[in-house]
Symmetry: C2
Subunit: 144 residues, 2 copies
């Protein structure tokens, strides 16, 4: 049985974060001492690790809540539910990557166009491009 500081040390999550996750229904200390101190057993620790792994992959806490509800009763849930969640996350990630790659392209074009030297910015091609808004013609739509 681990106290919160011990679980914190072991998991790398702060005690604050562990309590925060508890408040949001993700994890729990299955026992409490008389004084109310949290005690985590092995199953609790495994659940925390599950959360950590899912979070590292990029799942939101809401996603993780769903995954956990599947985890505690696997018989009542299908593989499809799990892949749906995963696919949905992948779609989000892909969309974000595309958006960032568009920014990346634009920024590279800007950097290529400018000397970057110590001369004053009166004729800086980056400033000109921003002023004219014509970057869009080269690398389009970094919109939200």
């Amino acid at each position: 049985m681990l106290k919160i500081s011990e679980l914190s040390a072991q998991s790398g999550l702060s005690a604050h974060t562990l309590r925060f996750y508890e408040k949001h229904g993700l994890i729990n200390a299955s026992t409490r001492s008389e004084a109310g101190y949290r005690f985590y057993n092995e199953a609790d620790v495994r659940r925390v690790e599950f959360v950590k792994t899912a979070r590292n992959i990029g799942f939101s806490l809401d996603d993780i809540a769903q995954l956990l509800s599947i985890r505690v009763d696997k018989k009542s849930h299908s593989c499809q539910e799990v892949t749906d969640l995963t696919q949905h996350k992948l779609n989000e990630v892909n969309a974000k990557i595309e958006e960032l790659q568009s920014m990346q392209q634009t920024l590279e074009i800007l950097l290529d166009s400018c000397c970057g030297g110590p001369e004053n910015a009166t004729h800086c091609s980056i400033m000109e491009a921003l002023d004219e808004g014509d970057i869009r013609d080269k690398a389009r739509s970094n919109k939200k």
Copy 2:
């Protein structure tokens, strides 16, 4: 001279957002009517467009504030300052892309491993991978 709603229509930014940008020192209406209504002249509009362009590229409002301070006095600033800002942003974008690509890989591996069918999740390989935390061995470190 444009009223705020006209500039809003023209720029695609809401009147709320225009006031918000003003509050944060990014833009300004150079004139006000007797009653206090904002009126934007051509230079104001160009500044708003500059902000919009920079924001579309992915610059933060803080970055944009810096770019604007260069813009109003180009003679006192160097091309290097501009490229430094741009390079810094590009580095951020690149880092974010790498992080997301790592998530992407992991999610693809997970999806490949699971049947995604209507059978119950008792032996779902995604759930197992999350439980064992061993996804990290294949696709590493999606950390913040």
